[in-house]
């Protein structure tokens, strides 16, 4: 079983569109949407939720005003300015460190398990299993939810004897991206020929190396700047990350997106479909 994560560093390069296109093309796989902060893959894969689970992470704290003696020790200790002068804890500012809980002489601070989101096991319109999730607004630790999605994906893949796990990764290079790429067989990096895209490509290649993961690159919208595309190709050879495909800019992508379809479903004879097949071959 091979695990592939599609990442980009910079947002908006076409990660999700490409993941969905691969999901249309491939057989015998499980697909996982690890962009838990702003999940989009479901807009193209139309999953039917079979099971839904609560996701718990860390603790949540509130102050029982009836027990509170307003001594202010919690406020003095809190490094996040999360407790106001009415002794209310702001859940957004609160880091859930528990200092207030431990210091309160009146035991007025209540500790609870924090329900931070939910995750789903579903079936896509291509009749393949899909694991996806939603982190609630203002919650922390998307990395842990990403790890949960990956765990469920592995479980499902074993259950159905899948050959691949396709993972739509989150943007950036932080904790959730780490959780999305750790232990995979390949990081497929989708970039674009803009200076911002190149800047972020370098950071993400460095991240993949840091985790000792092989990476390959796809240049999306390559014809908006041919000079930058050449630069990216040199970067790829310098860093040992093969550039396996170049996709031209085309309005058909947006049109197919609006129709809720992958390019292969929307316009199967379009030349971009051949590029998607090339990407798939490059992954195998």
């Amino acid at each position: 079983m091979k695990q592939i994560t599609i990442i980009s560093g910079k947002g908006g390069t076409g990660k999700t569109t490409i993941t969905a296109s691969l999901a249309c093309l491939a057989k015998n796989y499980v697909v996982a949407d690890c962009d838990v902060d702003a999940a989009d893959l479901h807009l193209l894969l139309d999953p039917q939720v079979k099971q839904r689970y609560d996701f718990y992470s860390g603790k949540g704290y509130t102050i029982d005003l009836e027990k509170c003696v307003q001594c202010g020790m919690c406020r003095d200790l809190c490094r996040y300015n999360a407790i106001n002068n009415l002794y209310e804890i702001d859940p957004i500012a609160c880091d859930a460190c528990g200092a207030c809980f431990n210091v309160c002489p009146a035991q007025a601070v209540v500790e609870k398990e924090n329900c931070a989101g939910e995750y789903y096991i579903s079936n896509t319109k291509y009749n393949m299993p899909m694991i996806h999730a939603n982190l609630y607004i203002a919650e922390d630790n998307s990395g842990k939810l990403v790890a949960q999605v990956r765990k469920e994906a592995r479980k499902k893949a074993t259950e159905v004897n899948a050959d691949y796990i396709l993972i739509d990764g989150p943007p950036g290079i932080g904790c959730p991206v780490n959780a999305a790429i750790v232990g995979v067989d390949l990081a497929l990096i989708v970039t674009e020929p803009t200076l911002s895209g190149i800047h972020d490509l370098l950071r993400v290649i460095e991240l993949a190396k840091h985790f000792k993961i092989k990476s390959k690159v796809v240049i999306n919208k390559y014809d908006i700047n041919l000079e930058n595309t050449k630069r990216i190709e040199s970067i790829c050879s310098e860093h040992g990350s093969d550039c396996i495909s170049k996709i031209p800019y085309d309005d058909v992508i947006v049109k197919s997106l609006i129709a809720g379809k992958t390019i292969a479903d929307y316009d199967p004879s379009h030349s971009i479909c051949a590029e998607i097949e090339k990407i798939w071959e490059g992954i195998l």
């Binding site: 630790n141 990395g143 780490n178 750790v182």
Partner: protein, 120 residues
């Protein structure tokens, strides 16, 4: 001498839990007297936002086990266990009683560092 084994259940015929930090239970087994002396529910770690490996290492140390047997150990867990001088052994998933027998027969592999990256 006490050894700790990660387990999915509380009995000798439960299966080994292949994870260390987020194992469901730790079975503390007395080798000399051939019996389970403690079964620790690792529930609090399952919901922890992070550092499950480190706090699991703490639990093992607190229970005076000199050896841990599991399927895999992450980087934080192995760092913690090594620092506490606790030995790590790797086993395939099988019944706890089979794990104990394999340990006593000397067929388990001793490991000296993380076997998997973190976040798994």
């Amino acid at each position: 001498m006490k050894i700790a084994i990660t387990s999915t259940g509380t009995e000798m015929n439960s299966d080994l839990d292949p994870r260390f930090g987020r194992a469901q239970y730790f079975i503390i087994y007395d080798i000399e007297n051939n019996k389970i002396v403690e079964v620790i529910n690792n529930n609090s770690n399952l919901n922890a936002s992070g550092g499950a490996g480190t706090s699991a290492a703490q639990v093992i140390a607190d229970n005076d086990a000199t050896t841990v047997i599991s399927g895999n150990f992450g980087p934080n867990a192995s760092k913690g266990l090594l620092a506490f001088g606790i030995k790590m052994y790797q086993s395939d998933v099988q019944k706890i009683e089979e794990v104990v027998a394999a340990y006593q027969a000397g067929t388990l592999v001793e490991i000296s560092g993380a076997t998997v990256a973190g976040h798994q």
